[in-house]
């Protein structure tokens, strides 16, 4: 059964990665078509084109959305390739930036911004990439469930002595402790997070009052 589950995940990733290539091609065509419009606009005299500024504004908006789309598909592609090799070397700094994009939509529903605060040096650990991403996403979800609305969640991987720690911290209006405690460390999601961390050979600690979760990872899942 586990073997089938693993195959399902790899299959899911492969198809998703393939589709991101297709989406990128669509974006490339939109970019070139709108770029051509801009080129033609540039050689068209102003007096023959009364609303030229409106066209420029719209084109600028289209270019902005293309950049956004490219960024999303690039991240999604990377995520879809996560199950390709497991365990694998993973840079926690890169994962923090990856998670910003993957979790932002969920956070936005609570008016929360997710931000990456990478360490100043690479933080490479040998682990299962999908399970690692799950732990980060679960941590963000736990905090989102515990808080009211607004503020930001900061993702900060750090190396403390020989330990690789990934901090997920909420910064914003903190609800009362009575509301937060059940929502964080006594929630069903917390158990799920602990279970995944144990699978990765790590541990999770919650600081209810500060709405902060620290995830401790071993340097290698296969020491």
């Amino acid at each position: 059964m586990d073997k089938i589950k693993s195959k399902e995940i790899v299959f899911f990733g492969k198809i998703t990665a393939g589709i991101t290539h297709e989406i990128k091609n669509v974006l490339a065509i939109i970019q070139e078509s709108s770029g051509l419009m801009e080129d033609i606009l540039a050689i068209t005299p102003d007096e023959t084109f009364p609303r030229k500024d409106k066209f420029h504004t719209s084109l600028k908006r289209i270019f902005g959305q293309i950049d956004r789309g490219v960024n999303i598909t690039t991240r999604l592609n990377k995520f879809a390739h996560s199950p390709d090799h497991s365990p694998a070397d993973v840079d926690l700094n890169e994962v923090s930036e990856q998670m910003v994009l993957l979790a932002s939509r969920f956070a936005r529903l609570k008016n929360v911004v997710v931000e990456a605060d990478p360490h100043d040096a690479p933080m490479i650990i040998h682990t299962h990439p999908v399970a690692l991403e799950m732990t980060l996403f679960e941590s963000i979800e736990i905090l989102l469930n515990a808080l009211n609305s607004g503020g930001k969640i900061r993702l900060y991987p750090r190396k403390i002595q020989d330990r690789y720690v990934f901090g997920v911290c909420y910064e914003g209006p903190i609800p009362s402790r009575a509301d937060v405690s059940p929502a964080v460390s006594s929630s069903g999601r917390w158990e799920s997070l602990q279970e995944t961390m144990a699978y990765l050979g790590g541990t999770a600690k919650a600081f209810d009052s500060a709405l902060e979760i620290l995830l401790y990872f071993p340097r290698s899942i296969n020491p």
Binding site: K24, L27, A28, I29, E32, S33, G35, I40, K78
Partner: protein
């Protein structure tokens, strides 16, 4: 100054025709091919100075086309267009003789800069 002759190769017809129009507006002489075989035919009959070549194409893939272009005329410069696996494919292509690589979608100014740089390497 001689007109730069470019061959654009990509299986996405709309992408390649629009990009060709943009380069033509900038004074370049552009041919297009929507598959590897077509591209190799044009390289034989009407050789360009620079080929802009998509890596992921059905049939003959970009890397194979690159090798065959270089076998026909090593003087022709090739710029690869890569997808998500940009750096990996780009480095592999450069080891096979590509001048450089760009990640799709391409920025037109960056492409023109690369085309001009590549053209300087044509003997």
């Amino acid at each position: 100054m001689l007109q730069l002759k470019v061959l654009l190769v990509d299986d996405e017809q709309e992408f390649v025709t629009t990009l060709a129009e943009r380069l033509e507006l900038r004074g370049m002489d552009v041919e297009i091919a929507t598959d590897g075989e077509m591209a190799l035919g044009l390289v034989e009959t009407d050789p360009p100075q620079v080929v802009v070549l998509d890596v992921m194409m059905p049939g003959l893939g970009g890397m194979e086309v690159l090798e065959r272009v270089k076998a026909v005329d090593s003087n022709i410069q090739v710029i690869l267009l890569t997808g998500h696996g940009g750096t990996k494919d780009g480095i592999k292509g450069m080891q096979l003789g590509a001048f450089d690589y760009l990640i799709k979608p391409v920025d037109i100014d960056e492409l023109i800069e690369k085309l001009n740089e590549a053209a300087k390497n044509v003997l």
